[in-house]
Structure formats: structure tokens, C-alpha cells
């Protein structure tokens, strides 16, 4: 889709970008990351010819972009930057319809597209269409920025720290929504950030840059487990183990061989389960929700004709199966629990996460897990 071949950009004597080679495949989410001045933004801006390379060439769908009219090229590539990029004298509708207007779409089609896009980014079209950027909050403006970049449904989107100016809570929320949006629209995205957590969250591949060169370009998993050198290791940070947990979904890592009991089952039935080798027993309510667990010692101390409800420890925390292991760990720490139940969308227990399971995961090499998904 996008291919950079030996691309170099020199500003005076400084090589801002130095012999960069990259091949971005259709539908890929590539994150360019590095310290400020590493050349990540310059690299991105060469893709829509806001900057022309000093040497090397860039191909989009096999065509050398240096031969193309930059104005036409840019209109086919979505471009989103921090929220200041909205034009304050235009309404939200006019901002979103900017490129459609440049391309002289019929008025009616423009309006339909604006409504569609506002809904897509979670803003009520009727409420926001006629407002001005200054009447919106930072998060709302950012949504408009994303909608505007999507206006003509371009196959490629360039995004330059689009969530950089937001407060941490709004940023996280926007990131989550953006992941969902990307699952729908499946664009080829080149995304610039200096935030490693953001990079790991989004990227199919992360290209770490320093002094104009790509130091390592790999999947988030590989970056975390096999950093190419000290620079990458330092850049990723000492909390890479925790970051790794945020890459793995609970449902991929949970212990699935669990058995369930109802509170009105007898102790005899529980003992029977243990005898058959079951080691993970969750007590569930009639509604199917996990309500607690039982200890083996309690089981042995209790007469067989009594009920499970009498020995149930009524404290079990749950985590949804589509959350990450980092979320699971948070729940465990918050509740001081050695293990937690994993629930599916119907709140039924489908597995368990234990602290020993987490330890096992961070130490075992699961290099290909991303590809297996």
C-alpha cells in the first residue's frame, strides 16, 4: 500500500530522516514512535507530500508520489492532527465537509456524509452540526477531527498525535473508541505518537525511530520481548512486563477447565467433583452469575449432607473476557484476590485468572500469539 524506499530528508546539515525503508500493507496500523526530533513526523509528512524527500522515493499503490499533484494526493489521504486543526470560523458540518466541498460533491451528499460521520464518531448530528469548534470540548473536537479525516473515505489515514492534547481519561476513552472504529473502517493508518502505551494499544507494527533512522520495526509483542538494542529497551521502559499484560486478552490466557456448583448442591456433590480431579470450582447463582468459591479444607470439615451455600466464600471478583490481563491484574490487586472469575457477555463464568497463571504468562515465550488470533 505504502512503500518507502531509502527515504532521506535533509534540513541543512541535519538528516531528519535517514535512509528509511518501510512497507505498510493494506489495512495495517503502523505506529511511528520515538523521542522528539527523531524524524517520525517528518516521515509521516512525506507520505502526503507536506514535505518532499531529499532522496529516495515513496510509492502508494505502486505509484511514485513525486510524480503526482500534491493537492490531489492529499485529498485522497485522510489527515488528522491535534484538535487545533479544526477551522474555528467554520461550523462542525463545514469542517467535516471540507474535503468533499473541495471535491465539489453535491450539497445533499455532503450533508448526508456529515450526518453519517458524526454518528460514527458518537456525536449527535442534529446537536453538533451547526455548532462551532470553540463550543465543543477537547474530546468532542477530537472526534470531529477524526470524522473530518474520514470524510471522503480515504483508504489511507495519516494521524499526527491526534489524541495528544487530551486529558488522560478522555484520551483513553477516545483510544478505545478509535480501536472500535478502525475495526469497522479498516484503514491503512500511519500514526505518529510519543506515547508507548498508545503505540502498543493500536499498532499492528511499531516502528521505533531515533536520529532519523528506524531502530526496530516489529509487532508490539516482539518489541516488548525482543528489543533490538538498549535504546529500544530504554524507550519501552522498565515496566515492559506490565505493558505485555495489556497486549493479552483475558480470554486468551484464562484457565478454562472450571466446574460450577449451585449453592443448593450438597457437599457430597462437591466432593465428587474434587475426586474427579476438578480443582477450580466456582459457585454460581441461579441466574448464572459467579457468586463465590469453596475451599477444599472447608469441604473436608463439613458433613456430606450439608449444602454448598454453607461453605461458600461469598467474595469473588469478575473480569469480562474481552478485557486485557492488565485489567484483570488491576481487579485482583484492588480486591486483594488470588484469583478472579472471568465472565462472558452474559455474565456467566467461563474461566479463571489466578496469580500463578499471570506469572506463568509473563515468563513464557508466546511470541506468535498475535498472529494466531
Amino acid at each position: 500500500m505504502i512503500r518507502l524506499e531509502n527515504v532521506t530528508k535533509q534540513f541543512g546539515v541535519v538528516k531528519a530522516v535517514d535512509q528509511v525503508n518501510l512497507h505498510i500493507t493494506p489495512g495495517e496500523f503502523l505506529v511511528l514512535i520515538g523521542p522528539s526530533g527523531c524524524g517520525k513526523t517528518t516521515t509521516m509528512k512525506m507520505i502526503n507530500r507536506l514535505i518532499d524527500p531529499s532522496a529516495g522515493r515513496i510509492l502508494i499503490k505502486g505509484k511514485d508520489i513525486s510524480a503526482e499533484d500534491p493537492i490531489q494526493l492529499r485529498r485522497q489521504i485522510g489527515y488528522a492532527i491535534q484538535e487545533i486543526g479544526l477551522l474555528p470560523h467554520m461550523t462542525i458540518a463545514d469542517n467535516i465537509a471540507l474535503v468533499p466541498r473541495l471535491l465539489k460533491w453535491p450539497k445533499k451528499k455532503q450533508r448526508q456524509r456529515v450526518e453519517e460521520l458524526l454518528e460514527m464518531v458518537g456525536l449527535d448530528a442534529a446537536t453538533f452540526m451547526h455548532k462551532y469548534p470553540r463550543q465543543l470540548s477537547g474530546g468532542q473536537r477530537q472526534r470531529v477531527g477524526v470524522a473530518r479525516a474520514l470524510a471522503v473515505d480515504p483508504p489511507i489515514m495519516l494521524m499526527d498525535e491526534p489524541f495528544g492534547a487530551l486529558d488522560p481519561i478522555t484520551r483513553e476513552q477516545m483510544q478505545d473508541e478509535f480501536i472500535k472504529l478502525q475495526e469497522q473502517v479498516k484503514k491503512t493508518i500511519v500514526f505518529v505518537t510519543h506515547d508507548m502505551d498508545e503505540a502498543l494499544k493500536f499498532a499492528d507494527r511499531v516502528a521505533i525511530m531515533n536520529h532519523g533512522k528506524i531502530i526496530q520495526c516489529d509487532s508490539p509483542e516482539m518489541i516488548l520481548r525482543r528489543p533490538a538494542n538498549k535504546f529500544v529497551r530504554d524507550f519501552v521502559g522498565s515496566d515492559h512486563t506490565l505493558k505485555q499484560l495489556s497486549l493479552i486478552k483475558v480470554k486468551e490466557a484464562m484457565i478454562t477447565d472450571i466446574d460450577t456448583l449451585h449453592p443448593d448442591n450438597t457437599i457430597a456433590q462437591a466432593k465428587e467433583l474434587f475426586k474427579r480431579g476438578s480443582s477450580n470450582i466456582v459457585v454460581v447463582a441461579k441466574t448464572g452469575e459467579a457468586i463465590g468459591y469453596i475451599n477444599r479444607e472447608d469441604l473436608n470439615k463439613t458433613p456430606e449432607d450439608r449444602f454448598v451455600s454453607e461453605i461458600t466464600v461469598n467474595s469473588i471478583s469478575t473480569v469480562a473476557s474481552d478485557k486485557t490481563l492488565k485489567d484483570a491484574l488491576t481487579v485482583m490487586l484492588k480486591n486483594d484476590a488470588g484469583y478472579i472469575a472471568v465472565s462472558d457477555e452474559n455474565r456467566k463464568p467461563v474461566g479463571l485468572i489466578t496469580s500463578s497463571r499471570l506469572r506463568q504468562i509473563v515468563s513464557e515465550p508466546r511470541l506468535n500469539s498475535r498472529e494466531e488470533q
Binding site: I84, G85, L87, P88, H89, L98, L102, R134
Partner: protein, 211 residues
Amino acid sequence: MLQYILTHQAEFMVLLRQHVILTCSAIGLATSIGIPLAILASRIPFLERPVLLLGNLGQTIPSLVILALCIPFLGIGFAPSLAALFLRAILPILMNTFTGIKNVEHGIIEAARGMGMTENQILWKVQIPLTVPVMIAGLRTAVVQAVSLATLAAFAGGGSLGDLIQQGIMMVDQERLMTGAVSTAALALLADFIIGLLQQWLTPQGLKISA
């Protein structure tokens, strides 16, 4: 004062008309040359420095000096008065428009360019609309300065309400002096008010909302 105006109605009206004509032509000329010149200067890099230099120089020279300097070249009467007023009025208009265009947030321009607007579209659809409030603020300064500077046209024989002030001083005629002074002040306030309305009307809706 009112008495004076009534008794010297014809004379007063002539002076008032001269004052207004002088001011309006100077402003008209300054606007129609100043704004295009500012736009040009903002787009052509080598014009940038001379414009800024001229602007700073121009602001520091006292108005009366400008008028005095015009007389040797243009004689006395309407022409040197108009020239002086024009030179005074063009500066705030030129400078405000120029700096306004130059100071439009870089991120906004970059976003516009990144989305595929041509340089001309960026100028007309982004930079100029965003500059309107600053531009009009410059116009406002220019108008108020021109109205008061027009009184000095009396020294150059340009004819204006300044004549009444000058005569009032020389003849120790307080009535005449006050008439000239108060009516000039009223004219300045009126002009300011009109420009204020213009500003309201021309400023893009989205910019009226404070961020």
C-alpha cells in the same frame, strides 16, 4: 455652542463636509491599498521585512510632522492633507492585516494544507476570514486617528472642523473653539461606533465565541 452652529450654519456644514470627505477618502484609499498590500506582503517573503520596517518607522513619526513633510511636495490645500491622513491611516490597516495573516495558528494552516487545500484556498478560506477581527481593529484605529488628524489639516489649508479650533485659539473665541473641538470628538465617537457595528457584522460567527 449650539447657538454658534445655528448662526453659522452654512460655514459649519461646509467644514463638517470637508472633514468627513477628507477622512473618508483617506480611509478608503488606505483600505484599498493597505489590505491588498498586506496580503501580498504576507505571501512574498522578500516583502516581509520592508513592510515591517516601514510599519514600525511610520508609527513613530508624529502626525503633525507627516503633515508638515507633505506640504513641500504637495503645496497646501486638500492634497497634502489627504496624503498625510492616508499615510497615517494605512499603517494600522496594513500592519494589522499583515500580522493577522501571519499569526494564524500554524496547526490550522498545516491541517488545511494536509487536507488538500491549495495555497489560494488557504489564503481566502482560512487565513483571511480568521484575520477579519484583527483587520477591523486596525481599521478602527485608522479611522479614529484620521478623524482627529483631519483637524490638523487646518494648518495645511485643507479645511476641516480644525479650522474652527484654530480660529477659536487665534481669536480667543471660546464658542468657536468648543464647537470645533466637541464636534470633532463627536465625529470620532460616531465613526468608532459605526466601525464597531461593522466588526460585529463582518466577524465570522465561530470567532465570536470566546474559547
